[in-house]
């Protein structure tokens, strides 16, 4: 069942341009000049119920603009969006009850209050009866292990604890879709892992559809089964994580420890990444040569140890960004 449908979405911004220096500043008062920036250009995709989608792209790609149009914050210039059958530009209030948003860089919580009071506040905002809110908080307290800090004022929480509370606060009204804009930004690896566990849990327990943007490859790799990549306002890839990892670049990394040196300089489909005599790291293009063939070239009897891995997702993504620019 399609829960999000985005068709031919476009948004342009009028940005003031100014020549340099004082003269430029004066000129821009008398004769202001603008340029049109295509922040989002003809983007279409859809999301099924219960999916965890990674919506990624370099800075300035149009991710946040798209999310803001999907969450009623910005009006699209062209195209249409249907979230749970509602039009975000027209059914703003109705939609607000159905979705949750967390913007990693913006605080939604009241800093002088405890998470408990904040959760009660959000419950009231979403018209949930007080008893039901208290029951929900209790449920979250156990499920997301909030015991240690649920009664500490938000201003005294660590960044990680605060983000956890931000996410939990956005779940109080049981949204069907949760938009997470860079939720793990600036967090240490342990806290990142906690947040990922929380996201996985809410997806599993409450069947919440998650629409996630992140620059963190770990988030994408560990959470999402599908990736949508946007660059320069255009959709450049919409595929499963499996396809992205195994087929998009068709490349494998082979690291081998050898008894004797091997020369692979002119072999088709093989790129030498590192050659330290007996330690060799090569990249095999599987469209030109199979991995088995590459191992044969190294001679299995000559190999002390071998490790075959995929090209890191980070490299794949950077490559996609670069190739589509």
């Amino acid at each position: 069942m399609k829960i999000i449908e985005v068709n031919n979405l476009s948004k342009t911004f009028k940005v003031k341009i100014k020549e340099k220096g004082l003269k430029g500043s004066l000129k821009s008062i008398i004769n202001p000049k603008y340029k049109i920036v295509n922040a989002v250009n003809n983007v279409s995709f859809s999301v099924d119920k219960g999916e965890i989608i990674a919506f990624i792209g370099p800075n300035g790609a149009g991710k946040s603009t798209t999310i803001k149009m999907m969450t009623s914050i910005l009006y699209p210039d062209e195209g249409n969006i249907k979230i749970l059958g509602l039009d975000p530009a027209k059914d703003r209030k109705k939609l607000a009850y159905e979705i949750g948003t967390v913007f990693g860089q913006k605080e939604q919580l009241w800093t002088h209050l405890t998470p408990y009071d904040n959760f009660k506040f959000f419950g009231a905002i979403y018209d949930i009866p007080e008893k039901a809110v208290e029951k929900k908080i209790e449920e979250f307290r156990v499920l997301f292990e909030l015991d240690k800090f649920i009664n500490t004022p938000v201003r005294n929480l660590s960044l990680g604890q605060r983000i956890i509370c931000e996410i939990v606060a956005s779940l109080i009204h049981e949204p069907k879709i949760l938009f997470l804009d860079e939720p793990t930004i600036g967090l240490d690896p342990v806290v990142k892992e906690n947040i990922r566990t929380l996201i996985k849990r809410m997806n599993k327990e409450y069947k919440t559809t998650i629409f996630l943007t992140s620059h963190d490859v770990g988030d994408i790799e560990k959470l999402c089964k599908r990736v949508i990549i946007i660059n320069n306002g255009q959709l450049v890839l919409d595929d499963t994580m499996e396809n992205l990892k195994y087929h998009y670049l068709n490349q494998k990394i082979v690291e081998a420890k050898m008894k004797e040196k091997v020369n692979l300089d002119d072999e088709v489909g093989i790129t030498i990444l590192k050659d330290k005599g007996y330690n060799l790291k090569i990249e095999v293009d599987t469209t030109k040569r199979s991995v088995a063939d590459a191992i044969r070239l190294l001679n299995p009897d000559n190999i002390i140890d071998i490790n075959i891995s995929n090209v890191p997702l980070e490299n794949i993504i950077s490559d996609i960004y670069r190739n589509k620019e």
Binding site: K68, A96, L113, K120
Partner: protein
């Protein structure tokens, strides 16, 4: 409605952290009153002398009441907050919440002024009593009516300042606009009652925000009459409707102009 009452309650809870700041703010208020009290003491040759219809006691109480209203309000902070929210794009994070932004601003700021209002009213009354040795003659009904007019006056002030803050959607900074507004209220209704000004200006002032946010309630405090109270409350209700509608219009127009790029 429950959500807005909850917002007020939440803001009060949050503000209880600042009780020391409120008490410190009273020092400025006290100095101001002390200067004005001495000024009136110098200008009035005897306490019973009337200047523009006010004796010295009335004049002092008038300033105490208007200053309580003014200091409680914290208008500059409100205007700056809304203006900054608009300029920084932070306002966008309120758009997809299920509340009316104008009522949200009103509730948060009302929650902000409740404790200040109680503390300043108590300390203001105490200061007046210390300076003058008596209170104006008021019965319980007139006190309740006065409280209602004070709450309505504060509500109107918040809505008008919200309007000014929201103008930031269309101009770079609404600060100068607030500066003009605050000086008009301060000079033409807070420090002096409107009877101090030329008759033509008095006629204009009677229809201006000065009448509903400061002069009206303070005049009732020093010279209560039911006729006047009804007039003030009706004018206040009209102003609330107008300023609320105006705020929503500006907000709706402004939101469509929002240009938040990135993050």
């Amino acid at each position: 409605m429950r959500k807005y009452l909850f917002i007020i309650k939440t803001q009060i809870m949050s503000n209880l952290q600042y009780i020391a700041n409120i008490l410190l703010g009273f020092i400025g208020y006290f100095i101001m009153l002390f200067i004005l009290f001495n000024l009136w003491d110098y200008l009035y040759s005897s306490p019973d002398e009337l200047i523009n219809g006010y004796n010295m006691n009335q004049m002092t109480w008038y300033v105490i009441v208007t200053e309580v209203l003014w200091m409680t309000l914290g208008g500059r902070k409100l205007c700056r907050k809304i203006s900054n929210d608009v300029k920084s794009g932070n306002i966008t994070y309120n758009i997809n919440k299920p509340y009316n932004y104008v009522l949200y601003c009103l509730s948060t700021h009302l929650g902000d002024v409740v404790i200040k209002g109680i503390v300043y009213t108590f300390l203001g009354m105490l200061t007046g009593f210390i300076f003058l040795g008596s209170f104006p003659k008021l019965n319980i009904i007139s006190i309740i009516i006065l409280l209602i007019t004070a709450i309505l006056a504060t509500t109107i002030s918040i809505l008008l300042i919200t309007c000014i803050g929201l103008v930031s959607f269309f101009i770079e900074d609404s600060g100068p606009l607030y500066w003009v507004y605050s000086k008009v209220i301060l000079v033409l209704g807070t420090i002096f009652p409107i009877e101090y000004f030329p008759s033509i200006l008095q006629k204009i002032l009677q229809y201006s925000p000065v009448y509903v946010v400061s002069y009206g309630p303070a005049k009732l405090f020093v010279d209560f009459s039911m006729d006047n109270a009804i007039k003030v409350i009706v004018a206040q209700l009209v102003y609330i409707i107008i300023s609320y509608v105006l705020c929503n219009l500006i907000y709706r127009k402004g939101v469509k102009r929002i240009n938040v790029n990135g993050g």
